[in-house]
């Protein structure tokens, strides 16, 4: 009896322990079952040549995995794989050998002259009469090393030549190598996209010698893996390909710019043609331009010079080019009135062009003998040193008129204030928006921005130049109308209209 109850108790105890162990085990079994299930793969994978580029890129797009950022096996990232033939490893090893050989040759070329110099120094030294065992004669060491290096150098150069030839041949065979898909190659990761991202651009470089070279007109194959937190648990998409990359002949993302340039060119040609045919083109008067003649007259009456500052731009700046034209007109009037002209220059090329301009103006005015080289002179290419020199000229020469036409920076106020101190009448014109407030405050007349470019048309009143000015005005009117329409479209959410004008890469 006793034993029987003991056995029953033992049985109950074992049953209880076993069931508890089973309960503990159950969650482990459940987790293990879930972790084996892969996530849903991406779908609708497409691969296309990269748009509006010089080639060497493929753009991949896909529909996100159903488990993207959700589900039991949440997809955290996407890995993009491209099929790469083993041939590319051969090319890579040729590249590596080539780079190594180039490095060796560079080292030898650096080492040899230094070693020869050191050898010369050692040879000049007197050897001690008593040669002790510990004395090391470096001369022999350098001689042997130099001889070995000189022997190795041509060998390496020959090797380099060979390697370059192999590389060229290998690069030419890349498209051929890719046709062996799916044999003789493997899938390699080329990039990663984060969860939520449904596109990827596989971009290579166009330099054939680069490790990242991606050949055009070559068959590429891609697949995208949806990857969970455990990188081993993933789902691969279908394979897409073959897809080839190539450069586009026209950047369709810049069509709005193309249309605008075309329209503007047509407007310019139209008005220039009209002007050539004798049409009267009205342009509103500019106070600064009207004042130029008066200012020159004032200087002549006072017997004081005129200072013309071309600014700190280079000869390639549009503001400086506009200033050359104004300088030509001013120099012609100055030559006619026989007033002194001073033109200090910041840039040597600008100085050269300005000298030619002034010389031609004096010739046109019929006073070639009045021209001398020191009218236009180079000062320095340091901004504030130039300003200091011009200020010095202003305070010594006390010009009656100062003209600042061109590209100016921080020195504009220093120039204008010193000119005001000297009692000169000042006419300024610049396309540097930041400097306009200073000129407006300190000068008597200011040409704002595009008025500087228009000044040449105003002064000469040539029909062709006036025609292009009118084209500009009509283009501005078009911009105003389009801006107003754009404002309306944005308010009414007419995205189609807004998208017409968007410019992408």
């Amino acid at each position: 009896m006793k034993h029987k109850s003991l056995v029953i108790l033992l049985f109950i105890f074992c049953a209880f322990t076993l069931s508890a162990a089973q309960e503990d085990a159950a969650p482990v079994d459940t987790v293990q079952v879930d972790s084996i299930l892969p996530p849903a793969p991406v779908s609708m994978l497409t691969a296309k040549d990269g748009e509006n580029d010089h080639g060497h890129s493929i753009t991949l797009r896909w529909e996100l995995s159903a488990d993207d950022g959700a589900g039991q096996n949440s997809v955290l990232s996407y890995e993009i794989f491209r099929w790469v033939p083993f041939f590319m490893d051969t090319l890579q090893s040729i590249q590596d050998s080539l780079e190594q050989t180039e490095a060796y040759i560079a080292e030898l070329r650096t080492f040899l002259p230094r070693a020869e110099k050191r050898l010369k120094e050692y040879r000049k030294r007197k050897k001690p009469k008593l040669v002790i065992v510990i004395f090391v004669d470096s001369t022999q060491f350098y001689e042997d090393t130099i001889a070995a290096s000189k022997r190795l150098l041509p060998e390496y150069e020959e090797q380099l030549k060979q390697l370059r030839q192999w590389r060229k041949q290998a690069i030419d065979e890349i498209p051929q190598a890719h046709t062996s898909y799916p044999e003789q190659g493997e899938w390699r990761k080329v990039g990663t996209a984060l969860s939520g991202q449904a596109n990827f651009k596989d971009v290579g470089v166009k330099e054939r010698k680069s490790h990242d070279y991606m050949a055009d007109h070559t068959d590429y194959y891609y697949r995208v893996d949806a990857v969970t937190a455990d990188p081993a648990i993933r789902a691969s998409s279908e394979i897409v390909g073959p897809v080839q990359s190539y450069g586009q002949l026209f950047n369709t993302g810049r069509i709005p710019v193309f249309v605008a340039v075309l329209v503007f060119c047509l407007l310019t040609i139209l008005f220039v043609t009209r002007a050539r045919r004798g049409a009267e083109l009205y342009v509103r008067p500019l106070a600064g331009i009207e004042a130029v003649d008066d200012a020159i007259g004032r200087a002549t009456e006072m017997g004081k010079p005129i200072l013309y500052v071309l600014g700190l731009g280079t000869a390639a700046d549009i503001g400086t080019i506009a200033s050359f034209t104004i300088l030509g007109r001013v120099a012609k009037r100055v030559a006619e009135y026989q007033t002194k002209l001073i033109v200090p220059c910041y840039d040597p090329i600008v100085m050269t062009v300005a000298q030619e301009t002034v010389k031609a103006a004096y010739l046109d005015a019929g006073r070639p003998d009045d021209y001398y080289e020191d009218i236009v002179y180079f000062v320095t290419q340091s901004q504030f040193a130039y300003v200091a020199a011009v200020n010095g000229t202003m305070l010594r020469e006390l010009p009656a008129t100062n003209m600042y036409m061109g590209v100016f920076f921080a020195e504009s106020l220093i120039l204008a204030e010193t000119g005001a101190l000297a009692g000169s009448i000042q006419i300024a014109g610049t396309d540097q928006v930041a400097q306009l407030p200073f000129f407006i405050v300190a000068c008597d007349y200011t040409l704002i921005g595009e008025e500087l470019y228009a000044a040449s048309a105003y002064l000469g009143r040539e029909p062709i130049l006036l025609g292009s000015l009118k084209a500009q005005d009509y283009a501005k009117a078009a911009v105003i109308i389009l801006a107003a329409l754009g404002l309306l479209a944005a308010s009414l959410d007419w995205t189609a209209f807004i998208n017409l004008f968007s410019v992408t890469s």
Binding site: V203, V205, D212, Q383, F384, V407, F409, A410, Q432, A434
Partner: protein
């Protein structure tokens, strides 16, 4: 000449003298000015603060010694922030005297980063800044428009070697770094028209995130670009630099300079008001006499 006429036509040398005196006095007396931070500076600070270690930031130090007072503090604050966050920095200097300014900044920041510091409650251990590993200084090349365009293809096009003559491919941090695509963002610190080139030729062509640090005079001109999101942040003048220092909890020359600037502005305002008072009183005096 009565007092109002004198107020209106004061010799400018009195203005210069008074301004100089105020600048000297506020320089000698040490006190801090509270700095209010604006959004356009905050976005730059947040941009750098949220980058992960080893990400690359491009800093263009394109100013000459003229603009040192306004832009050097900005450059120091931004660069130190980058190094403290363990970011890699590529530095160019596209103005003629820019390399000298950039080198000075690099050496000074390298010394500062060696020390343990605490900014905004975060402790940063001192470390060595190594050329080629933590930063690459590319140096100067003329024709900045072409350089900016060239770097968009490959940094090695305009800069086959760095400023010290080392081939870019030999620099560990430049491995795999071809162009702006591998850079998280560009902070261009400018004093001239190179800023326009960064917007037109850089951001306009290659669409990288671009922020500008400019002199105070230029700052107002670049709000259109901020508004159109061609630039994501703007630091203008000494005030912009002081704001960045405030955000980075790294007080420096900008915060010190602000007290001088605030009082200088007050002096200018005083003279403007004085001139206007003189003008109005003179005018009413003349009107009264005219009757």
């Amino acid at each position: 000449m009565n007092i109002f006429d004198r107020m209106m036509s004061l010799d400018r040398r009195w203005v210069f003298l008074f301004l100089a005196a105020v600048c000297v006095i506020t320089y000698i007396i040490d006190f801090q000015i509270p700095i209010r931070v604006e959004n356009e500076v905050k976005t730059i600070h947040e941009f750098i603060d949220t980058l992960k270690p080893d990400e690359i930031v491009f800093i263009a130090i394109d100013y000459d010694p003229n603009a040192l007072a306004e832009l050097h503090p900005m450059c120091y604050a931004v660069m130190e922030h980058c190094f403290r966050k363990n970011l890699k920095v590529i530095i160019t200097a596209l103005s003629q005297n820019g390399p000298g300014m950039a080198e000075q900044a690099i050496f000074d920041i390298a010394d500062s980063v060696k020390m343990d510091r605490e900014y905004n409650g975060v402790h940063y251990k001192g470390r060595e800044i190594r050329n080629g590993i933590d930063y690459a200084f590319l140096g100067y090349k003329p024709y900045f428009q072409l350089v900016i365009l060239g770097m968009g293809q490959n940094f090695r096009l305009p800069f086959p070697t760095d400023y010290y003559g080392t081939p870019l491919d030999s620099l560990p941090m430049m491995q795999g770094v071809q162009n702006y695509d591998q850079v998280s963002g560009v902070i261009a610190i400018e004093a001239g028209n190179i800023a326009d080139a960064w917007i037109a030729y850089g951001q306009g062509r290659f669409y990288f995130p671009l922020a500008l640090g400019l002199t105070g005079v230029m700052g107002a001109d670049y709000y259109p670009f901020l508004n159109s999101r061609q630039i994501f942040g703007l630091m203008a003048g000494l005030y912009g630099a002081a704001q960045y220092e405030e955000l980075a909890d790294n007080p420096g020359l900008a915060k010190d300079g602000m007290r001088i600037q605030v009082y200088a502005h007050l002096v200018i305002i005083l003279f403007i008001l004085m001139g206007n008072v003189g003008y109005f009183m003179s005018r009413s005096e003349k009107k009264r006499q005219g009757r």
